[in-house]
Symmetry: C2
Subunit: 164 residues, 2 copies
């Protein structure tokens, strides 16, 4: 049984393991593949950020963050980012975290959700977010340098949180 | 004669005056209108950021920043933000800074420029960026709460820096 809960300091090792694995692969996130543990955890636990983990049998297989994408007159738009351990993919952990995230964003009063950077070649993610109601509202031509495919497009995805 | 040059510590007062004026108006930037001087200058002079001012007769009328929009495999995309003092608008200072910015971005080796947040009601800015070759590549529905017009759309604008 998968459980999604707020992360604590005790989750740092597990989160860093997943974060490093995902970012070092260099095929989905616009971060330096050599990003340090310190910088990674500072980013994932920023003061304006809610951090969650997905665990099963006391093992953390995924993590996500939820934060305002901007502030002031745009503070009603949320942003989120998701990571799943490579050995746990295909088990609907991303989907469970995505649904949890949209519910949390609504609970916190956000009116919309925006993903700023979904690499177009990450088709399983694009399809998953579309199933969760996120729409491609923008395409950034060649904004990501994929390690095998070269410069590929990036999608901006968005959905209202008011209409269902 | 307008001169655009890198900002120094001696420009902090002038930059803060412009920044505060622009952000307090609440009609163009996704920042807290009450943002403090300290936070504003920390943002405008972030370690990954090039900061410039536009001056005429030793008076600063505008300022802009240029930085990578992301890092790692997306570090080739630049981002920029521009502010002009209210009493200096209509004098082509924004246009001069925009042209300077695109040239600087090319000089620094960026392959593209992205503006993440252009409020659709800010028509003079949208038109100016279009004249400089920026295209609307995405629309964020209702992502900005305008002080008079309510929730309005926001554009993501983008251009290659390779093709001319």
């Amino acid at each position: 049984m998968l459980k999604i809960r707020p992360a604590t300091d005790a989750d740092h090792d597990a989160i860093w393991e997943i974060f490093h694995e995902v970012v070092a692969a260099g095929d989905t996130y616009p971060f330096d593949p050599q990003m340090s543990r310190e910088d990674a955890l500072a980013y994932w636990f920023r003061s304006d950020t809610q951090t969650y983990v997905a665990e099963q049998d006391r093992h953390v297989f995924g993590t996500y963050i939820l934060r305002p994408n901007w502030s002031g007159p745009a503070g009603h738009v949320a942003n989120a980012a998701f990571m799943v351990a490579a050995n746990a993919r295909g088990r609907e952990i991303g989907r469970a975290m995505g649904e949890h995230c949209l519910a949390e964003a609504r609970r916190l009063g956000f009116r919309a959700m925006q993903f700023n950077f979904v690499v177009s070649t990450n088709q399983s993610a694009v399809r998953l977010w579309q199933k969760l109601g996120m729409k491609i509202v923008g395409t950034l031509p060649g904004a990501f340098r994929h390690p095998e495919k070269g410069y590929v497009d990036v999608y901006v995805m968005f959905r209202s949180l008011l209409d269902d």
